[in-house]
């Protein structure tokens, strides 16, 4: 784009014309005499004004304007250029009397503004530009049209300004017949037209702004409103009404009408918010739910800014956004997280299944053996009834033991809330070691425990703590997979921690981790295992934190890492009825009968 502005040659300046700032005081006769169409300025202006008011498209208005001018002022042709927002480029050009080729190439041209030597500007502030078909730098292809246009001489240029003095466009007049002169009333016409063009362009811009607002509101599901506090009236769009399930015909929209749509649970906070707002103290912002007539629920977010309207009365302007989709996504995410946490418990399933099978097979083996013995005892002559009775007793006891294991396993995997009891962390640790033993042995891990004597009890959910310790133990074992140059040692230690807490640490001699990578370990989806879900640590941490504890990891000085958690001590006594440990398996040294052992309800 070449610049269209150029310094003007003095001969072309407006000095030769009557100054435009003078009021147009033409007589009606003079007026009519100068026009060929027989229309007075007033009538022409009225016609154009009508077009603008009717909301006719801008190009039509401007073209009509030029046509009227060209018909009115003999020997002259006009063009109107509409500028873009920056005022630096021509956006549209209307010029019915000029060659189309010339008009076309004006569009998109850069416009620059220069100060004039003489102060012949409209309001003294805005400089004037000059366009000249002859002196303009045109590309070769357009020189022919320029040649045609060069029969025209630029006569006059008027900037079209907004009410605030912004450049909106340019009204330019060319002379094609030197026999005529511009009269005073013609100048008045130019002035009128410039003002009309300004109105038309401003209208177009504000319409465009409104359309943009409308579109963005739609895009973001956000709808603007204003609330006149005194009269309780709400100004809003049709879509706003539709958002609330109101009929746009139900004017005026009031708070009461809106209140009828609000979810009953959210009404009290809503009323509170409104009361605060009515005192005009500050801006407000809140979220609430709607319950629409069809019983559907919508989530809305409201933001409002306190202001004064033109009469100085308290008014809030704001926006309402439909965030239903976002809330639903968040809810779905929360559900998914809960399910993942559940899955984390199930992740250990492979290992757990082996452990369970192992545990269940013990009493089963007992049953088979006892029954076999029973049969043999009854087969001899005379039958060993006492022995048979004894084996039968053991059989029943083993069967109940197996049933107990299944119950415990069910309890592990059912989705129930956390229950809290007073636990000895050492007992829980021993249970977990029993559970994981076969897996650890298979991985050739040497387990050592250093469990502090006199460890104060902690108030916690047994199953959850088991899960956490099992997670740490299995992680440690996995970390030592493939370690061949040193023994695979797992050390579990419990001890008192300062300030009335109990700490458990699991130390391994595995691959360890980099200190800066520690946060990543606890990330919900981080995993180094091929089949791992990597959720264990993240869930473990939240379990510990829900017990008001802390879970952390540090790399060891030599090799591997130590994962530790500490939880606050609970009440002094361990709850009665639980003799030391409730075991998942049957690896107890003392036999207790089924009646003595308390049953945990699943």
């Amino acid at each position: 784009m070449t610049s269209a502005a150029v310094s003007c040659s003095p001969g072309r300046r407006v000095d030769s014309l009557p100054p435009r700032h003078r009021e147009s005081t033409t007589s009606a006769a003079e007026d009519r005499a100068a026009t060929s169409a027989g229309l007075g300025i007033a009538e022409v202006a009225a016609m154009l004004g009508g077009l603008i008011r009717q909301g006719r498209p801008l190009p039509l208005v401007l073209t009509t304007m030029c046509q009227l001018f060209d018909a009115t002022v003999k020997g002259f042709s006009s063009i109107v250029l509409v500028l873009d927002r920056t005022g630096a480029r021509v956006r549209n050009a209307a010029g019915p009397s000029l060659p189309t080729g010339y008009m076309k190439q004006l569009e998109g041209r850069r416009v620059s503004w220069i100060e004039t030597a003489s102060g012949a500007t409209i309001n003294g502030k805005t400089p004037v530009i000059v366009l000249d078909p002859v002196s303009d730098n045109l590309p070769e292809s357009q020189k022919s049209t320029a040649a045609a246009a060069s029969a025209l001489r630029l006569h006059e240029v008027s900037p079209i300004l907004s009410l605030t003095g912004e450049p909106l466009g340019i009204f330019a007049v060319y002379q094609h017949d030197g026999n005529h002169n511009v009269t005073r009333c013609h100048s008045a016409l130019i002035q009128q037209f410039t003002q009309l063009a300004s109105a038309a362009i401003e209208r177009m811009r504000s319409e465009r702004r409104a359309a943009l607002l409308e579109r963005t509101q739609q895009l973001s599901s956000t709808w603007c409103f204003s609330w006149h506090v005194e009269t309780d009236e709400i100004s809003c769009s049709r879509e706003f009404c539709q958002l609330f399930g109101l009929d746009p015909a139900d004017v005026p929209v009031t708070l009461e009408l809106i209140g009828a749509r609000i979810h009953s649970e959210d009404l009290p906070p809503f009323h509170e918010m409104i009361e605060t707002a009515q005192s005009g103290v500050s801006d407000f912002e809140f979220e609430l739910r709607l319950r629409l007539p069809d019983n559907s629920i919508k989530y809305l977010r409201v933001v409002a800014h306190r202001t004064r309207d033109q009469e100085g009365q308290l008014e809030y302007i704001g926006a309402v956004q439909d965030v239903t989709q976002r809330r639903r996504t968040e809810e779905a995410l929360a559900t998914l997280r809960a399910e993942l946490a559940q899955a984390a418990r199930v992740t250990s399933l492979g290992v757990l299944t082996a452990a369970i099978a192992h545990e269940v097979n013990q009493p089963l083996a007992g049953i088979v053996t006892n029954a076999s013995t029973c049969r043999r005892m009854l087969a001899v002559n005379p039958p060993d009834v006492e022995g048979a009775r004894e084996t039968t007793r053991r059989t029943i006891r083993d069967a109940e033991r197996a049933s107990e294991i299944i119950k415990r396993v069910r309890a592990l995997f059912c989705k129930k809330g956390a229950t809290s009891e007073s636990l000895d962390l050492n007992d829980v640790t021993r249970e977990v070691v029993a559970l994981a033993l076969s897996e650890l042995e298979r991985n050739e891990v040497i387990v050592r425990t250093e469990l502090a004597g006199e460890l104060p009890p902690v108030q916690a959910d047994r199953i959850q703590l088991q899960q956490v310790i099992l997670n740490l133990v299995l992680n440690a074992s996995d970390a030592m997979n493939g370690v061949d140059d040193r023994p695979r040692q797992l050390l579990i230690r419990t001890e008192r921690d300062e300030e009335d807490r109990v700490r458990l640490s699991v130390r391994d001699t595995g691959v360890g981790f980099e200190p800066q990578g520690v946060d990543r370990l606890f990330n919900a989806f981080y995993t180094t295992k091929i089949n791992g879900m990597g959720i264990g640590l993240s869930v473990s941490r939240s379990i510990i934190e829900s017990h008001k504890g802390r879970l952390w990891a540090t790399p060891n000085d030599d090799s591997g890492a130590t994962f530790s958690f500490s939880v606050p001590c609970g009440p002094r006594h361990v709850s009665n009825g639980v003799t030391g440990a409730q075991r998942l398996g049957a690896r107890v040294s003392a036999v207790t009968s089924a009646e003595e052992r308390p049953m945990r309800s699943p």
Partner: protein, 124 residues
């Protein structure tokens, strides 16, 4: 004069097994003693007398295979019948390679145990 029945020692940390197995083995005609750990067995005076060992594989502390190793080191060749609750094929194979008479998976039938004991005593 009563023929002294050969001693079979059962080593298993599981209580059910320690309760039930000796009675069955006695029905087969042996005398039986039960131990809850390999260490306990090694420390006992039954070590010299035992003609056959029924040994659990997975135990806390010294495992079954470890006891098997230890006995080899000590020059004691006692026939071993392994019993296990875990279907670990690799482990099973290993223990058989190390000279075990049999490796039975819990729960095993009385006949399976009977046959294993026959093999153990026939070989010796």
């Amino acid at each position: 004069m009563m023929v002294k029945r050969p001693l079979v020692s059962v080593v298993d940390d599981d209580e059910s097994v320690r309760e039930s197995l000796p009675d069955l083995v006695r029905e087969f005609g042996y005398s039986v003693r039960a131990f809850s750990s390999a260490e306990e067995f090694l420390a006992s005076d039954s070590l010299g007398e035992t003609r056959c060992l029924i040994l659990d594989i997975a135990m806390p502390g010294m495992t079954g295979p470890a006891l098997q190793q230890e006995l080899t080191v000590r020059g004691r060749s006692i026939p071993i019948i392994f019993i296990t609750a875990q279907a670990d094929e690799a482990g099973r194979l290993r223990s058989l390679e190390q000279g075990a008479v049999a490796c039975l998976l819990k729960p095993f039938s009385d006949m399976a145990l009977f046959e294993a004991l026959n093999v153990a005593f026939r070989a010796h």
